[in-house]
Subunit: 333 residues, 2 copies
């Protein structure tokens, strides 16, 4: 199970078994071998950005959303963080025989509502029913199509020394909310998944410019995303523990659960690398949106600590944030 | 289970629970509500054609292919029959915990080989591992991206009275081969799945013109595909039983199994509606390819029998070919 949880073991499985058997061809600014959130195809003066993801979550309905909302937002966000305007979604649904029709309808309705929030729709789909026990309830695979101007796709590897790192809101909400809900810790009324489409917020900051990298820290959380950036861009990233926005309930619940919120999934947050001279303007623009009201600059890109993420702790020490080996909470995204 | 097998029950599930909850917006020549093999997005003088499908098959390795070849070809073919050149594939793989790495590698290698046959590649992907018993072995969802010239996308509903119906080769090979293999009827040496990418054959005939509809008759077979055309175009389709190409082994095995080859899945065949004045040239061009050497004109579009498919039987009678309610052979595509 650790193989599927977005950490280092996963990377190894991917690299060894999948990538070495696939031919990576560059037909746009981002190709398979770049291992970004998606890839792109050049057409005229546009880049067609494509991203695909399979979604499975337990429970299917959770505080703050359901698998339909998750499957729409997750892929919309992967397209958005590559600097592309989402244009359309393709959706492939696999159902376990006996899955309740009324639940399917609710899920489709949620998916549609999230699409409508960013002005897009599901343009094509597929539905398969598998026999009981051949699939656990429902899996939805969404593929997003987005458009960016040629040369404007945002790649992880562009992060540069001096860039400020912005996080657009509180960290760990999705993962900790799901886990608390499952364990029945009594946070259900206040602690909800942050699942939301990021495009409306991102659209505003793309106009400002100076953005060098963008990512939605889903599986593996902030820790996996920052480590990936540090490795791909051959830089060091130093972040300040005290500046990381965390809800009180997330702190309390994660202590009870013994889980570090930095390694759990977020579904409505972005981390953004931005040139220092644009950082304040980008931050203010984000903070002016409802989704980004708690955005903070949490750190900076350095030319030392290459490939590593360093945390300046609240008590004045330093520690290396290792990429998570696996997700501490299975099946939450 | 009948809901997932590509027949009438499936259509009802789709219409009632999924489509009514999704907003269909037209951003290209084909939208969700058209229920074609995919949809399209207009960009400049091009149409970006998108199609998505989840693939599950038992066994994962079968005579003539494996799930990797199937997942590549199936989606390549859905793009191709819309008249678009395949450009790229996105692939989302869901594995059961404990799935053999060497099998995964073989599957990825097959997928890549089929992509290379049409000059494309997997440009982005996703991998999830689900716990044992939460998924049966492996499910692959592929999404294809293709380009067509604006105004040139081929839609099912364009079929017109007088059109000839061409089938590009023998019918029922995939479904009957799979079933024979499972039952151990001893046809394993000669009867193989027809799974293959159709683009090289289709590319040639698109240049001739006169093509009004195209489809790869997968789930529900020839019967489901022709019934769908008749309904969508409000025409009648009359086919001649004797002209339908069938392998001797398929005839023998389908008799033993008690299954009509007209309702089983094909994975390397197309049915094509073509204006009568172009029919011979299109047929000859198809027959000049290896994949299409057994192509035949099997019927014609009429202005009577609206919405129905009529079979002129070998013994001189007529019977209505009903759309299949479900697939007689579960999990073969």
């Amino acid at each position: 199970m650790m193989h599927g949880a977005g950490g280092e073991l996963m990377n190894r499985l991917l690299a060894e078994s999948i990538l070495k058997n696939l031919t990576s061809r560059r037909i746009g600014e981002v190709e398979l071998a770049d291992l970004d959130d998606g890839a792109s195809i050049s057409l005229g003066d546009k880049e067609i950005v494509v991203s695909t993801d399979s979604y499975t979550i337990s429970p299917v309905f959770f505080p703050g959303g359901d698998i339909g909302k998750l499957a729409a937002c997750g892929t919309i966000n992967d397209i958005s963080v590559m600097g592309a305007r989402p244009i359309a979604l393709a959706s492939a649904v696999i159902l376990e025989e006996g899955f309740l029709t009324e639940d399917l309808e609710k899920i489709m309705h949620s998916m549609d509502a999230s699409c409508r929030e960013v002005g897009i729709s599901v343009i094509t789909g597929d539905t398969k029913v598998m026999q009981r026990n051949a699939i656990d309830k429902i899996v939805i695979t969404t593929t997003g199509i987005g458009f960016a101007d040629r040369g404007k796709v945002i790649k992880d590897s562009n992060l540069a020394v001096g860039d400020k790192i912005i996080v657009t809101g509180t960290i760990g909400d999705h993962g900790i909310a799901l886990m608390s809900f499952r364990e029945g810790f009594g946070f259900e009324t206040t602690l909800q998944s942050d699942v939301a489409p990021l495009w409306p917020m991102i659209e505003g900051i793309l106009k400002i410019g100076g953005i060098t990298a963008m990512r939605d820290p889903t599986r593996g959380g902030l820790s996996a995303a920052l480590n990936d950036w540090a490795r791909k861009s051959s830089t060091g990233i130093v972040i300040d523990e005290e500046s990381i926005p965390l809800r009180d309930e997330v702190i309390a619940a994660s202590e009870m659960l013994g889980i570090d919120p930095l390694v759990v999934t977020n579904e409505g947050k972005a981390i953004i690398g931005v040139r220092p001279e644009r950082a304040e303007e980008v931050l203010e623009t984000i903070r002016a949106t409802e989704l980004g009201s708690k955005a903070r600059i949490i750190g900076e890109v350095k030319d030392k600590y290459k490939g590593k993420v360093i945390l300046n702790t609240a008590v004045g020490g330093k520690r290396i944030i290792e990429p998570p080996l696996g997700d501490p909470i299975p099946r939450i995204c």
